[in-house]
């Protein structure tokens, strides 16, 4: 199969798996599962195609660093986030759809700060 037909085939089924992230397929995340992660921010990466929260989460008798994928800078900005919304050391609770390969990563769903208030517009990614 030549590249043209192969790509045509790929495109034929994209819609069944395209996520709302705008960057890549959402198939890598398990949208049926939602995990609650409470921890401290190691870094807040304001970048494209995604912003990221690196979260240090006490678990399994130690600390695990999670990579939490968010939307693009424009998407986050329009959702009320700013580059300074999170700083290293901030305590946050984040809901994520975990990646399917069991690695410590997930797609952002929502977050609340130490005061219990939602960060950004509630539910926005």
């Amino acid at each position: 199969m030549g590249p043209s037909r192969r790509l045509l085939g790929v495109l034929a089924t994209l819609l069944s798996t395209a996520s709302a992230s705008g960057h890549h397929s959402g198939a890598m995340f398990d949208a049926q599962k939602t995990l609650t992660l409470a921890g401290n921010v190691k870094a807040f990466q304001w970048s494209n195609p995604h912003c990221w929260i690196q979260l240090l989460v006490p678990m399994q008798g130690g600390t695990v660093e999670w990579s939490i994928e968010m939307g693009s800078t424009t998407e986050l900005y329009r959702s009320g986030w700013r580059p300074g919304t999170l700083k290293p050391g901030d305590k946050v609770t984040v809901l994520v759809h975990p990646v399917r390969d069991q690695s410590p990563g997930g797609a952002f769903v929502s977050a609340t700060g130490a005061d219990g208030k939602p960060l950004g517009k509630a539910g926005a990614s």
Partner: protein
């Protein structure tokens, strides 16, 4: 002597200004005849990803994701591709930018329906569609024709010229490189495809692009669709989307997350 030189210089400036003024006034009148499309606009897909409901949404198939009116030869290829067992796995690793993403992500007409915010700059000489992903469509409205055959070659955006019918911009695009017309669809065109658009403002907050694609080499009849754009209410500037920090490499056939 110095005084004379200065006076001469002033005279030249005055004469130049007198000559420049009629041209400027003519251009001002030309601007006044054009519609006001200022502000920022976004596609339907862009509205989905900024929906406060978050990631539960999914992209619409869109108009360009529809079933093109293929001739029997291309319809057969289309059906064969649909039944290809490898397509699901390939779709699972789709990326919109970064290593492994399709080149057609940045092509016309895909950018007119992809999840983007854009600005339209209307001048008498050309109209610009400035996309936040970096692409800029130049629609020349100064009366020129497409370049001659020897001066033209296929590109991802093609070559566009236009003219105004009242407040509707008629765009004629040719020389678009052969390949898919959308990352979310199955439509493929040859490099001989001919695109015609009628862009107009329906109301204060809505633009419409009526797009017709004609590709006699692959279609049995022209393919027409209407694409709508909404005014962006919560941005006052076009924020660049630069794919500089892709952390989703494809490893062993799967999308992954790379450590920071």
């Amino acid at each position: 002597m110095r005084s004379i030189t200065l006076s001469a210089a002033c005279l030249v400036l005055i004469v130049s200004a007198a000559h420049a003024d009629p041209t400027s006034a003519k251009r001002v009148r030309a601007f006044a005849r054009l519609p006001d499309w200022t502000g920022l606009w976004e596609t339907e897909a862009s509205k989905v990803i900024t929906n406060p409901a978050g990631r539960s949404g999914s992209f619409s198939r869109g108009n360009l994701g529809g079933h093109p009116p293929y001739n029997p030869e291309w319809e057969q290829k289309y059906q064969a591709a649909l039944s290809n067992a490898a397509t699901a796995q390939q779709a699972n690793t789709f990326k919109g930018c970064g290593e492994g993403s399709p080149r057609y992500m940045r092509s016309f007409p895909d950018i007119m329906e992809a999840p983007m915010v854009f600005q339209v700059v209307v001048t008498p000489e050309e109209t610009l569609f400035v996309m936040d992903h970096g692409e800029i469509r130049h629609i020349y409205t100064d009366g020129r024709r497409h370049p001659d055959k020897d001066d033209l070659w296929p590109t991802l955006l093609g070559d566009s010229v236009g003219h105004w019918q009242s407040h509707t911009l008629i765009i004629d695009t040719i020389a678009r490189i052969a390949g898919p017309v959308s990352i979310f669809g199955t439509g493929e065109v040859s490099e001989h495809a001919h695109f015609t658009e009628r862009v107009r403002r329906l109301d204060e907050n809505t633009l419409e692009d009526e797009l017709t694609i004609d590709d006699p080499q692959r279609f049995v009849h022209p393919w027409t669709m209407k694409i709508h754009y909404s005014r962006v209410p919560d941005l006052n500037r076009l924020i660049p989307y630069e794919c500089e920090a892709d952390r989703n490499p494809i490893v062993n056939g799967n999308l992954t997350i790379a450590p920071r």
